[in-house]
């Protein structure tokens, strides 16, 4: 009995110390509200470790008191955690694979990368974030490593992919690749800009991040497109290194990659450097823009004729510019599958052999500065205002959780791209004292991308919404559910004006018409004008439909004046020319982005 008491008094204080679960431990175990985000059972040493951080801490202390070095080698960050708090006596074992990992990475810094939106892939429309472990190796950061958190998806596409992604039926995990591979994927193949935000980590924090990446790299977790996605996991990773940041906590319901990037950028003392790495397409466009008229003319002829013997009207430096740009364009065409391999190689080397004969640099400097997405407006939008519809005055409130519409400020975002997600508009008609939901956009995507001398992108749009509509025959308002897809092209006139033409297919349900459904074909002609703080959109869409009530010409316009990054004021108007009673409305709204 005495002995027992002796043991209790001797060891109890030790366990009390050990049993203290602090902020750092919770962050290291990825605990959020008492449960770990990590789903692999192998991440937990205690049976109820996923929900019991204390038990997990005790089990971790036990692990490092024991001799199971294989298992110890899986948890180097936990060891560092215990070591810092004096909770471990033994040395960390020799771990061949982990040592090799560190030897390959030769870590120097941690950088958060943001790749901008890629409109051609639904899962990339909001951009993407990943980590880079910068390297001490001689040379450049091309030899660093990207650590990407992503879903391990199968071959399935479309609906199955979306449903699985939404409901956590995929698992996510980390993959590590050399940074040059990441550059190729994003800059050179998908033509997306990369922004590099280097974090201000101490040596200790850097070591901890690498150790923790090793731990997490061996786990998988359920992947949810909107909430537990690529960006969310990176926030938890950064929190694990600096728990007081609590970055992940702010993103409980959904994480938009750019929002997470901004959150990191805005944390005081967390970032030491930002760097821009333009996409191949942007580099080409920049070079073309910087050329003299003469260079441009000769360049156009050369790429058209695929003959790179350039006229001597140009100086050698000017020729070098043309060859360099032409080479990048040939690479672009190859990636876009517009060239045969043989022809591609022939052209590539013709250009380069000519270029290699000239020793000096070309006259055009590489693109080095872009529009920083951190300066883009916030992604949620609230609109308050009022207007008149068919002679009736109303007040309105609109709420849009994400992300960007054609007339919103496009600074730091893609011009001509729109993603309105779950946007809803409520109206109160004063005279009748009636509150109605006027419109609900489940999703509205537009990609209005200009065709030019070199690039021929397809413009497209997709709409899924429910909207109040005035039936021209009985003049009553009804709800219509609409689904629309359209495709076409756009071109720029100068720097400020973009014209587009799209053919739209519509299917709808409701509207107080016979059989409640309609199909329609429309031609959407529009212009988008951007000038300083002004964004003006005007569209005309004549459409023929299976129901005569939907055969109509719709005119709509929007003028948005940008007051500040997160404030603007917009005037919108719509006129629907139908076979019966026409419908018209205009409204004024103050837009606030938050």
């Amino acid at each position: 009995m005495h002995y027992l008491l002796f043991f209790i008094t001797l060891f109890f204080p030790f366990f009390v110390v050990a049993a203290e679960v602090d902020e750092a431990w919770l962050a290291l175990g990825h605990y959020q509200n008492g449960e770990s985000s990590i789903d692999s059972p192998n991440f937990f040493l205690s049976e109820d470790g996923k929900t019991n951080p204390l038990a997990e801490l005790q089990a971790t202390i036990e692990l490092f008191e024991g001799n199971d070095t294989t298992k110890q080698c899986v948890f180097p960050a936990r060891y560092l955690y215990l070591q810092k708090r004096g909770l471990v006596q033994k040395a960390f074992p020799k771990c061949e694979e982990y040592d090799q990992f560190k030897a390959d990475l030769q870590p120097k810094d941690v950088t958060l990368l943001f790749t901008d939106a890629y409109m051609n892939n639904p899962s990339s429309m909001f951009g993407h974030t990943l980590l880079r472990i910068d390297t001490k190796r001689k040379g450049t950061q091309m030899l660093a490593h990207g650590a990407n958190y992503g879903a391990f998806t199968g071959e399935e596409a479309g609906a199955a992919y979306a449903i699985k992604g939404l409901f956590g039926l995929y698992f996510g995990g980390f993959t590590v690749k050399p940074y040059y591979d990441i550059i190729n994927t994003y800059n050179n193949i998908e033509n997306r800009d990369i922004w590099e935000l280097t974090l201000n980590f101490s040596q200790e924090e850097l070591d901890f991040m690498v150790a923790h990446l090793w731990e997490i790299g061996q786990t998988q977790s359920r992947y949810y497109f909107f909430s537990r996605n690529c960006s969310y996991m990176l926030l938890e990773m950064i929190d694990a290194v600096r728990p007081e940041l609590k970055l992940a906590q702010k993103f409980k319901t959904w994480v938009i990659p750019l929002d997470s990037f901004k959150a990191v950028a805005r944390k005081k003392g967390l970032v030491k450097e930002i760097n821009y790495r333009p996409s191949r397409q942007n580099k080409i466009k920049h070079r073309y823009k910087m050329m003299t008229d003469e260079q441009r003319e000769i360049y156009r002829q050369a790429i058209k004729a695929k003959d790179y013997h350039l006229s001597d009207e140009l100086s050698m430096a000017q020729k070098a510019d043309v060859w360099e740009t032409a080479y990048q364009f040939v690479q672009y065409q190859w990636v876009a599958k517009k060239l045969e391999l043989k022809d591609y190689r022939k052209q590539s080397f013709e250009v380069l052999r000519a270029r290699s004969g000239f020793k000096d640099k070309g006259s055009i400097a590489e693109l080095s500065d872009g529009k920083n997405p951190i300066q883009a407006h916030e992604s949620k939008r609230l609109v308050a205002g009022g207007g008149e519809r068919n002679g009736e005055v109303f007040e309105k409130i609109e709420l849009r959780p994400a992300y960007q519409s054609l007339t919103d400020n496009d600074y730091g975002l893609i011009k001509g791209a729109q993603i309105n997600f779950l946007n809803q508009e409520w109206r109160h008609y004063a005279e009748r004292n009636k509150l109605v939901m006027h419109k609900f956009d489940v999703l509205s995507i537009r990609s209005i991308s200009p065709i030019d001398v070199m690039f021929r992108p397809t413009s497209f749009q997709l709409d899924l919404n429910v909207e109040r509509w005035q039936n021209p025959s009985d003049e009553r308002e009804h709800y219509v559910g609409n689904f629309m897809v359209g495709g076409g092209g756009a071109f720029d006139l100068g720097e400020n004006v973009r014209f587009f033409a799209l053919v739209n297919n519509r299917l709808g349900y409701g509207g107080g018409i016979a059989h409640n459904s309609y199909g329609a074909l429309g031609v959407d002609l529009g212009a988008l004008w951007s000038w300083h703080s002004w964004r003006v959109l005007f569209e005309i869409e004549p459409q023929i439909a299976t129901q005569k009530n939907f055969s109509q010409i719709k005119y709509n316009g929007e003028i948005n004046y940008i007051i500040a990054k997160d404030w603007s004021i917009a005037l919108s108007g719509e006129f629907v020319d139908t076979k019966g009673k026409n419908a018209q409305e205009y409204s004024l709204g103050l837009r606030y982005y938050f």
């Binding site: 190796r137 040379g139 590590v176 193949i189 190859w334 290699s356």
Partner: protein, 150 residues
């Protein structure tokens, strides 16, 4: 003697890398590209599927995923292997920089070879026609010529 050693070192690298060539996909090569080989049960199993065993080295034409599908997926190994892996994935950018006599890939190659980048840049531009003697040059030839040049 040195040359034979180099050749065999590079050849070993080729074997290691080329057996894992795979098609590009945006998530890399799935689990096969994970750095944590052998630690978790599923991975060795998946590796067997992702490695399609194609033999042959990378020729000119941008691809990604060659390294991503390496079971290690990392910058690793000695000078020869590292240079080969780098050139396999960056031959187009390297050719571009070589023709201009400067650029990020030349700096990187100079770093891998531990030589002065400016000297190397000049040598590479001067020898552009030797390095890229044929349009069908492959990464092994290119690696060997650069190692001889440097």
């Amino acid at each position: 003697m040195k040359k034979i050693y180099l050749l065999s070192a590079v050849a070993a690298g080729v074997l290691a890398l080329s057996s894992n060539a795979n098609a590009y996909d945006s998530t890399g090569c799935g689990l096969g590209s994970m750095a944590w080989r052998g630690q978790s049960g599923i991975i060795p199993q998946v590796l067997a599927v992702t490695t399609n065993g194609t033999f042959g080295t990378q020729t000119f034409g941008i691809t990604t995923g060659t390294s991503g599908c390496d079971p290690n997926g990392r910058v690793s190994g000695g000078t020869g292997r590292m240079l080969l892996a780098f050139l396999e994935n960056n031959m187009e950018q390297f050719a571009y920089d070589a023709a201009q006599g400067n650029g990020e890939t030349i700096k990187t190659v100079a770093g891998i070879l531990n030589v002065d980048e400016n000297t190397l840049a000049v040598k590479i531009q001067d020898n552009f026609g030797v390095l890229f003697a044929s349009n069908d040059v492959d990464a092994v030839d290119l690696t060997l010529s650069i190692m001889q040049l440097a």
